[in-house]
Symmetry: D2
Subunit: 343 residues, 4 copies
C-alpha cells in the first residue's frame, strides 16, 4: 500500500482517454496545436481573468523558468525554509536563473510569515551591489507540510512583496488539493489575493506528466518565459499530449474531484491518527499529505507490514503519508488498523 507520493499513483483514466483522442491525427508541433492553443481560453474561464498559459512537462521546470523570468541573476528569491525550490529541485532554480540566491525564511506550518518576510527583504540589499537583491517571493500551495494558505494569508504575503516591488509566485504542485480543501475559487486564492504567476500542478493530481505556467496579466513576461522554456529543452514538439491532459483535467472540474478524493483519504487518515495512542499529527492536514510522528520502531513495523511511505529527511520519527485519488479507503483503514495494533 503506497503512501509514498502522489507521483507514484497512476494517471486518471480520463487523462489517458484525452491523450488517445489527441492522437487521432497529425497536429501542429511546438504548442501550435489546437489543444495547446485552447489553454489560454480554458484557464481564463477557470481563473475568471485573462491568463497566459505555458504547458510544460515538470514542476521543477515550471518553477525554475518562472523564477528565471522574475529574478535577475543577481537576485534573491525569498521563500520558506522548506520550499521545494530550495530543498528538492537539485539546483534547477539556480541553473535557470543563472545563479540567483534562494533565501530560506522561517514561518509556522511551512507558511511564509509576512513580518519575517518584510524584515528579510528590508534588511537585504542595504549594502547595494555587494548583496543579492530581493527580486521575487515564492510560496507553495499546498505547502511542503501539507498545510494551505488561506486567501487572506496569501494577500498578506503579496502585500509585503508588492509594497517592495517584488512579484509573487505560487508553486502550485498541489494547487488542486489546496483549492479543494479551502473550498474557494481558483481566482480567490491566486490573482485576487495578489499572486502574479502560478505553477499549476497536474502531474501529482491525475496527469501522466503535465504542468502549466499560468501568468495573470503580465504580458511583458511572456517572451522571456517562452525563450527560457525552449532553451531549457521544455518546448515539446508534441506538446499536444501535455495540453490534452490539462484540458481533460479541467473538464467538469475533474481536477478538483481528483483532489477532493485524495484530501478525503487524508482526512480519514488524520482522524485515525489523532484518535490513536501510537502516533500524532505533526501539522494540520489541509490537503492530501499527512505528517505523522511516531516511535521509529512503530514506523518500521508499519513498513514491515507493507506500508510504503517516506521518513522525513532529518527525522527518524516523522512519516509523510500521501494520499491520492487512487488510494483506497481500505488502504487507509488497514494502516490505521496496523497502527492501533502497534500503539
Amino acid at each position: 500500500m503506497n503512501f509514498k507520493s502522489d507521483n507514484e499513483a497512476p494517471a486518471h483514466p480520463a487523462v489517458l482517454d484525452a491523450v488517445i483522442e489527441a492522437n487521432q491525427d497529425f497536429a501542429t508541433a511546438y504548442a501550435a496545436d489546437r489543444c495547446s492553443q485552447h489553454l489560454n481560453a480554458r484557464f481564463s474561464e477557470i481563473f475568471e481573468t485573462d491568463c497566459h498559459v505555458l504547458p510544460i512537462a515538470t514542476g521543477t521546470a515550471a518553477n525554475s523558468i518562472v523564477l528565471a523570468e522574475l529574478s535577475p541573476p543577481w537576485g534573491a528569491v525569498m521563500c520558506h525554509r522548506t520550499a521545494h525550490i530550495h530543498c528538492d529541485e537539485g539546483g534547477a532554480p539556480e541553473f535557470y536563473t543563472h545563479g540567483a540566491k534562494l533565501v530560506p525564511l522561517d514561518g509556522d506550518n511551512a507558511r511564509l510569515d509576512p513580518a519575517t518576510l518584510a524584515r528579510a527583504i528590508d534588511s537585504a540589499g542595504v549594502h547595494g551591489v555587494h548583496n543579492c537583491k530581493p527580486s521575487v517571493v515564492s510560496i507553495t500551495q499546498a505547502t511542503e507540510c501539507g498545510t494551505a494558505y488561506r486567501p487572506q494569508q496569501v494577500r498578506a504575503v503579496a502585500d509585503v512583496a508588492h509594497a517592495r516591488g517584488l512579484p509573487l509566485h505560487m508553486d502550485g504542485a498541489r494547487f488542486a488539493n489546496a483549492v479543494a480543501w479551502l473550498g474557494c475559487t481558483p481566482a480567490e486564492i491566486t490573482w485576487r489575493s495578489g499572486v502574479d504567476v502560478l505553477s499549476f500542478g497536474a502531474t501529482k493530481n491525475g496527469a501522466l506528466t503535465a504542468e502549466a505556467v499560468v501568468v495573470f496579466g503580465r504580458p511583458e513576461w511572456l517572451e522571456g518565459l517562452e525563450r527560457r522554456r525552449k532553451r531549457g529543452g521544455h518546448l515539446l514538439s508534441k506538446m499536444r499530449y501535455v495540453s490534452a491532459q490539462l484540458l481533460a483535467l479541467l473538464e467538469n472540474d475533474l481536477w478538483l474531484d481528483i483532489a477532493r478524493t485524495a484530501n478525503e483519504r487524508a482526512v480519514e487518515l488524520a482522524a485515525g491518527i489523532e484518535a490513536s495512542h501510537a502516533a500524532r499529527l505533526e501539522w494540520p492536514v489541509e490537503a492530501n499529505e499527512v505528517f505523522m510522528r511516531a516511535e521509529p520502531t512503530i514506523l518500521q513495523s508499519l513498513k514491515d507490514r507493507g506500508f510504503e511511505f517516506h521518513i522525513w529527511p532529518g527525522y527518524n520519527d516523522l512519516a509523510r503519508l500521501v494520499c491520492t485519488f487512487a488510494t483506497k479507503p481500505e488502504d487507509v483503514r488497514n494502516l490505521l488498523g496496523a497502527l492501533s495494533e502497534l500503539g
Copy 2:
C-alpha cells in the same frame, strides 16, 4: 496532407498501449520504476554492448545535457553548419554548457568532413586560454539534409576526434531512419564506429514524447548527466511513461519497422520527383526527408492544393517534405500527381 514534420504525426498505437499498460498501478517515481530500470538491459541487447541509458522527454534536452557533460564552459563544440544543435535549439546547448561555443563547419550533404574537422580543431586553441578549446564533436544521424553517414564515414570523423582527445556525440533524432536505410546494426553505426554517446530519438519515430541518452562505456559521465538532467527539470517524476514508450518501440524491432515505412514513402516520393519535370532533388534521400527544388510558384501551388510542408530557411525554392509511418502511399501519389500537373 501533412509533409511538415515527423513531429506532427500521431504516435504509434503500440506506444499508447504501453503507456496504458504502465498506468495499471502505482510505480516508483523518478526513473526508479521497473520500465526505467529495464532500459539499460534492453538497450544493451539492442546495441550489443553495455549501455547506460537516461530516458528524457526531448531531443533538445538530450543533446544539450550530453554536450554539457562533454564540454567545459570554455569548450568549443565542433559541428556541421546545419546542425540542429547550432541552428534550431534556441541556444539550449549554450545554456546547458554554461556558454560553450558552437563552431559551425562545412561539409557536403550536411556531413562533417574529416579533413575540415581536423583543420578546425588543430587551428583552434593555438592562442591558449584566449581561445575556446575544442572539446567535443557532434554529428547528426540522419543529417539535417536527409542524408546518412555510412559506418566508415562515422569512423573517419571519430578517428579525427579521438586522435585529438575529443569524444564523439551523435544526435540521433532520426537515428532509426538512418539505421533502417543503411541496413546496418545499431552497434555498427555507433560505438563500433567510434560514437561515444548517442541521443536516441523516438519522438519523431512513433512515440508521444520519448528520447534517450545512450552512453557507451563511459561510466564517469553518468553522475554529471544525471545531475544535469535533474537541474534541467528533466527528471520526470512519472518517468515510467517515457520509458514504457521506449521499451514498446524496441519490442520486436517496431522502431525499425516504423522508420522503414517512413523511409519507403520518402523513396517513393523521391523517385517521383526525380522523374518529374517540375522539380528535382536537392540532396540524396537516405532517410525519411526529401528536399525538393522547384519554382516558388510551383511550391505555392502545391500549398494551395492542401499539401503542407516547410520552405527551407534562406530559400524560396526549396521544400522539405518529411515522410512518416503515418504518411499514406496515396498522400505521396497525390503530391506527385499534383507536381506532374504543375510541371
Copy 3:
C-alpha cells in the same frame, strides 16, 4: 625590439604619477572615491554629452559586461568574423551573457558590412524561439586589422542596427588610436554616429591597467552594468587607482598624444614596408597596427635578429607589428633596415 603588442609597452609616466598622487591618503572604497566620482563629468566633457562611466580593469570584462547587459541569454551578438570578443576572449562574452551566441560576419578590412549585417539580422530568428534572437551589434574601433571606421561607416552600421531595434556597442580597445588617426572628435565617432555604449580602452594606450564602460544616455542600463561588474569580481575596492589613470590620460589630451605617437611610428613603418621589395602591407594602416606579408623565411630572419612580433593565426607569412608611444623611431628604422637587407 618589441612589436608584439601595445600590451607589452610600459605605462606612461604621467599615469604612474597620478597613481602616486591618488595614494596620498585614505579614500572611499568601491568607486565612491573622488577620482571615480569625477569620471562622469570628465568623460561628459570629452564626449560632449552626458556620459555614465564605469571604470574597470580589463577590456575583456568591459566588453563582456556590456554585451551581457544588452543581450538576453538567448540573444545573438552580431560581430565581425575577426572580432576580439569572438576570437580572443576565451569565451568571456558567452560567460557573462549566460550563453548568448556570437555570430561572426564577413566584411572587408575587418569592418562590418552594413548590407551583410542587415541580411544576417533579417534572416536570423525567422524560426522564432528555435533560433537565437539578434540582440546587439558590436564593432571594433580600431579594428583587429588596424583599420578604422569613418563616422559615416559607423553610422551606416548603426542605422541597420537601430532600424531593427538593436543597440550598437563599440569595442574601443584602440579607440584612442582610431580617433587620433581619423582626426575627428570622440563624439563624432561614437554617439553622434549612433554608438550606444563604448568600451573605452586605456591599457593599450599608456595605462597600467584601466578601461571604462562609457554609456551614452541609457540610464536604464546602469543597474545591470553595475551588478554585473560586481558579480564578475570587477568592482575593485581600491578603484581610485584605476580612475586616477583614466583622469591622467584625459588631462590635456594626453591619451590622444600617446595614440598619435604610436600611429606615427606605424605610418613610418608602413611607408617603409610599401617601399620595400621584401614585404607588402596586408591592410591599410589606420591606427597603430601594421600587418605585413612576407616570405616565412624573411619573417624568421627578422625574428632571429631580435625583432619581436606575432605571426597572425592561420598564416605563416603574415606578421602583425604593433607600434606604441614607447616604440622608438630607431626601432622602426632598424626593422626597415633589416627588411631591406633581406629583400
Copy 4:
C-alpha cells in the same frame, strides 16, 4: 580618522616602488612576464612547499574562481553564515560556479564548527540528485568578525571535509593579519593544517590591488583555474604590475610587518575599549578588526566627531573599527579619548 576599512588605506610605498620598477621596459603580456613567472618560486619558499600561484586583481574574483573550480554547478559550498562569499560578493560565487548553492552554517566567533559542518554535509544530499551536493568547504582567515582560526581549528575543519571527499578553501582576504597574530608560519596555518587552496589577500594589506590564488599540490585544478580567470576577464594583459606588488610585499616579510602594525593598532584599540565604560568588545580581537558594542547615541557622537566606521548590518549598536598599517597611534588614542568622554 578612517576606521572604515583596510580597503580605504593607501598602498605601502614599497608597493608603488615595485610598480615603478616593473614599468622600466616592455614586458611580456598575460602573466608571462618575469615578475609573474617568479611567483610560483617565491610563494613556494614562503609556504615551504610547491605552490601554483595565479595573480588576480580582486578577492571576490579569487574566491569565485576557486569555488567554481572546486564545485560543480550542482554543488553546495559549505561556509559560515557570515562568510564574505555568502554575504558580500553580490552573487559572484554563484555566477562563477554557474549556480552552486552557498550553505550558511553556524559557529561561534565566525568560525565554522566542525561538528555542525559534519552534520550539515552528512544530512545534505540524502535525497540524491534532488539535493545540491556538498562539494567544497570554505573558511575565512581572519574571519569576518576579526577572529582567527588556530592551526588545530583549521585541521579539525579540514578533517571533516576531507573525510567526506571535500577540499578545503581558505579565503585569506586578511590572511596576513591572521598569520601575524597567530605567530605561526604560513605553512602551518594552510596546507599543513589541510588547506587545499588559498585566496591570498594583499589589497587590504598594503597593495594597490593584488590578490593571488595559491594552490597546494593539486595540478589538476590549474587548467580550470586559468580558463576561468580568462573567462572572467581577470587575466590582465599587464599582469606584471599585480605580480610586482605581490613580490614587493613578500620581500623581507613586508606583508607581515604591515599586518603586524595594523594588528598592534587593533590591540591598542581593543584594550582601550575593554577599559572603557562606554563600550565593550563583541568578539575577541585576533587580527586588525575591532567590533565594539555601544549605545547608538555614543556611536553617533563618535561619527559626529569625525571618526569614520561602519555600523554592522542588522545592528544599530555594533561598530566595526578596522585598523591598518596607516592608522596612526594618535588616531586610536583620539578615538579612545572621545569614547571616555562619552562614557
